[in-house]
Symmetry: C2
Subunit: 576 residues, 2 copies
């Protein structure tokens, strides 16, 4: 039987609870968002004892469904002040599902100055003192935990950023090689974990089984059908496995939508030097892995392993968002510097998108020149060291911009924007503006139809059609984020009806349900409504569904367009 694990950091109690009926058909983001709405006061201090942090694997967890091991982490965001779901790969999601953990609800707060770890296995769910891990970065934390709990466990940890309660702190999840390279990155949930005094969760799957299936044959059929679509669609079968997500650098640069030097241009003259093609070449030449899955069961394998010049492991293959935020957006064109920043973010426990924006905003404010790779690395090391400047950057782009008196601060709802300029990719601009999550590309990835001709085609430079595009994607994504499936399965889902069918057929076969496509859409809507409700109660109004002023006033080269989707249209995104 699946259960909810309620961990109270104030009295250090750990309780198994039955899953209330209303949560039975929810998983991942659907579950975290509903639990946060139901249990967290929207006006609670995000780093106070009344916020909660919820970990939930997806509905298809612990099955053979490809890429089904993603995990949602939810809570009230210290960065946005609204609801947050941050989604991570790595091994922990699957292992939690194998342990039959439907969700972990972390609540209360430990006595200041004390740190704990939560140890989960088939036989125990125990909080243990972990002051020995205090102040450690993620790699060292995981090394120490692995020595004690073994290579076969997964580890969910925070680095120094989470302990310092920084608004851009992430939560790290170990990958198949026990490296803390997979992060619930956005919105500062690492600070929530830190505020509660929890340094780590150990998830030991020893002796556990895959999920029980109501109809094993039907599941197998649906699973194969789904796998077929992943193997057929060009993005999931070829583009992503070969060049990783960073296949996008050249594409976005060509489209004039690659935000460069703090969103002052849509083209970076050194894009080629940091492209996926270039990274592929470097990784291959040094004997790294150009293709690698972020968790077992992944068939897309968009990641890789990046070795340094001497052939030693440095970090995972940096994602497109990382390459952009710390490359083009900082005017940096050195792949090794970007890879080093990626390593530092994973180690200190920081959101790579937010910190790349912090750097770019600080550069715009004159702290260091655009393109200063060495300076950027030095600054990010300062975050781990806890210098004042490091803490400023680790507080995100909005705080950094305030401190340095910067006029161009690319954030919505306090969260920094990802790698697509909303003036040249207007569908994603609608998502940035209206998402319950703040500036977030994954919440409604309109780059599909705007740039990639996936799921149709909508001119990225015109305002027409963007709201409908973003709306449909936001609904679909909310549902998909509940399954545990990787967001990249959306490529076949958007283009191939049988891929979408296979998703709910797998869920039906696992749980003995009779969901239809409409039910899945309805699930997405229900989740968005819950998130909007929380945000409304936290004080968000339609004026928060807007991009910063400069996107409307400053034309973006090379197309010299501004963001011109009318406010009145933005206000219709959630009319469903």
């Amino acid at each position: 039987m699946d259960y909810i694990l309620r961990v109270n950091m104030t009295d250090l109690s750990v309780k198994k609870e039955n899953v209330p009926d209303k949560y039975a058909s929810l998983g991942g983001r659907g579950l975290t968002s509903h639990l946060v709405l139901d249990e967290v006061d929207p006006l609670a201090n995000p780093i106070g004892p009344n916020n909660k942090l919820v970990f939930a694997p997806g509905l298809l967890g612990a099955t053979s469904a490809p890429t089904s091991g993603r995990m949602s982490v939810g809570g009230k965001s210290p960065l946005t002040g609204g609801i947050k779901e941050a989604n991570a790969g790595g091994q922990a999601g699957q292992y939690l599902s194998r342990l039959r953990v439907k969700a972990i609800i972390l609540e209360g707060a430990a006595t200041a100055g004390k740190m704990y770890k939560l140890v989960l296995s088939k036989d125990q769910a125990t909080l243990k003192e972990a002051n020995d891990l205090m102040g450690l970065a993620n790699y060292d934390t995981v090394a120490k935990l692995t020595a004690q709990y073994g290579e076969k466990s997964a580890y969910i940890t925070i680095g120094q950023a989470g302990e310092m309660l920084l608004k851009a702190a992430s939560i790290a999840v170990t990958d198949q090689e026990n490296r803390p390279t997979r992060h619930a990155g956005r919105g500062g949930l690492g600070a929530v974990m830190g505020s509660k005094g929890l340094k780590a969760i150990v998830v030991d799957p020893t002796g556990t089984d895959r999920a029980d299936l109501a109809d094993p044959e039907a599941f197998k059929t649906a699973q194969r059908k789904f796998l077929d679509t992943l193997n057929k669609h060009p993005v999931t079968s070829s583009g992503l496995p070969t060049y990783g997500t960073n296949v996008l650098t050249n594409i976005l640069n060509e489209a004039g939508g690659l935000p460069t030097r703090n969103f002052s241009s849509g083209r970076f003259e050194h894009a080629e030097a940091i492209s996926g093609e270039k990274f592929h070449e470097i990784i291959t030449a040094r004997g790294g892995k150009p293709t690698h899955g972020c968790h077992s069961g992944c068939t897309i394998r968009c990641s890789g392993v990046y070795l340094d010049k001497d052939g030693h492991y440095l970090t995972k293959e940096p994602e497109y968002e990382t390459v952009w935020a710390n490359g083009a957006n900082c005017g940096i064109s050195d792949p090794d510097a970007i890879a080093m920043l990626d390593r530092l973010y994973d180690d200190i426990g920081l959101d790579t998108i937010e910190l790349g924006n912090s750097l770019a905003v600080a550069m715009d404010g004159g702290l260091l020149p655009f393109g200063d790779a060495e300076g950027a690395i030095k600054l990010i090391k300062e975050v781990g060291q806890g210098t004042v400047l490091g803490k400023v950057l680790g507080s995100g782009a909005a705080v950094t911009g305030a401190v340095f008196g910067v006029k161009r601060i690319p954030v919505t709802k306090g969260q920094a924007l990802p790698a697509y300029d909303p003036r040249a990719v207007k569908g994603i601009g609608v998502t940035y503006a209206t998402s319950t999550m703040g500036g977030d590309h994954t919440a409604g990835y309109a780059t599909t139809a705007n740039i990639l001709s996936v799921g149709g085609s909508v001119n990225p430079l015109k305002p027409e059609g963007q709201v409908e595009l973003s709306r449909n994607l936001q609904i679909a994504t909310a549902a998909l984020d509940s399954t545990g499936l990787c967001l990249f399965t959306a490529f076949p889902i958007l283009d191939m009806p049988e891929a979408f069918e296979a998703v709910y057929e797998m869920i039906n076969a696992k749980y003995g349900l009779t969901l239809t496509g409409n039910d899945v859409v309805e699930l997405g809507k229900t989740i968005l409504r819950a998130e909007r409700k929380f945000n409304e109660l936290a004080g968000f109004s339609k004026q928060h569904d807007r991009l910063p002023e400069f996107f409307k006033t400053d034309p973006l080269p090379p197309h010299n367009t501004v963001f011109d989707v009318p406010d009145s249209e933005l206000d219709t995104v959630f009319n469903f």
Copy 2:
């Protein structure tokens, strides 16, 4: 004829405009708030070219009405993101009225890296290049300007904080001795002035006359009646002149409402050492002035002149809010240290309330110990020097708290709270929560009936009656802030019907109007409605009319009360 001066910093034009009819009967805050609502996009970047900064003397400017020289400065606040009126003493308000300037509207923004001054006299209204003033603190700026424009002009200037666009930057106004000690302090309007590239306004009253009066005899009668009430009421005739505003330290400490060590207690064990009585003793012993008016025509004279140990001028007599913010709230009990901080704030151009809170929050976050006066002075010097830490503190308590991961951050709508703990002075808690200005005591100074038994008496520790008290005071204050009269005239106005009568009788006699008491109340309501409208369009909802969570959860010693005015009652404050 009164006129509006429109100063465009983009094209460096200065235009005199007729006063539109709708603004004819408005002055001070009524005029700044209506102009901001009418002319500023509520979603404009506060430090971008589309924000405007409005200076407006009050309706009774350039008359013999006592204390009538106050000036309102309005705009969209970089600190709160909402509308802002900051009110300053000093000579400039009267001189602007004598020049017949109804309002200055500063708009656009100069080319980055250039600074200007606006020179106003009977014969000119000219923008002049002022790069020679760049980087100067207020005292040096004024010294340089005085050398050129004379002792008889008034100067409105910004220090380094405004140039650095810091969210807690103030706008300084010179007093009768040409010292930049009077500030439009709150909400970061100094950063707005800095963002436009305006370093100073020179206001030369040479050759100007007092305002024309429609009925000089009636004015004289009303003026004498008003003066009588000021001379009779114990607060304005004795308490304030003798000990200054700091007469409140002992009173609030006794009441258990003096926020101590970042709002962790309502009593400070060293209150006596920083009391008004003690400052009076020090000032008198050193040969300073224990009584001094912030502008000519002031009969209350609540200020003074503070000399250092060697008998040299250091600063004005620090106000109660300064003494509290940098004294009790920082655990500091050294009057000389507080006076030095006051001097530094005036010089760098910083809001003393906001910065005292920045310091206290930083102390709570472990940056330095509570009570470290020398450390505090060093830190505030860093703001002027533009170090990263200095910029953090100069960005206000909310940013400082974010950077240092502090859980107890006493701000509403982003603005730090003044010197009355809302758990022990609940009427002012209602004002903090609901004011259009963010945390602001002057917006509805319920300390009157809560603590001072002025204008009735309402138990400060109970939730009952606080909403009505705050509502009435907020309405009255909005009207009073439009007259140019000092807020302290409210003491007789609240207690003596003839004082209130005299106010509108003076206005009637000046303008040939027939206003009644009801009209004045209606004016207050109209102003609040305009401000609420702007804030609503800027994204504020009822959830922003709340105090931070800890005031509701953490009891305050010694009364061990929490803030318990129900949210539903807070939502009725503006039901009028």
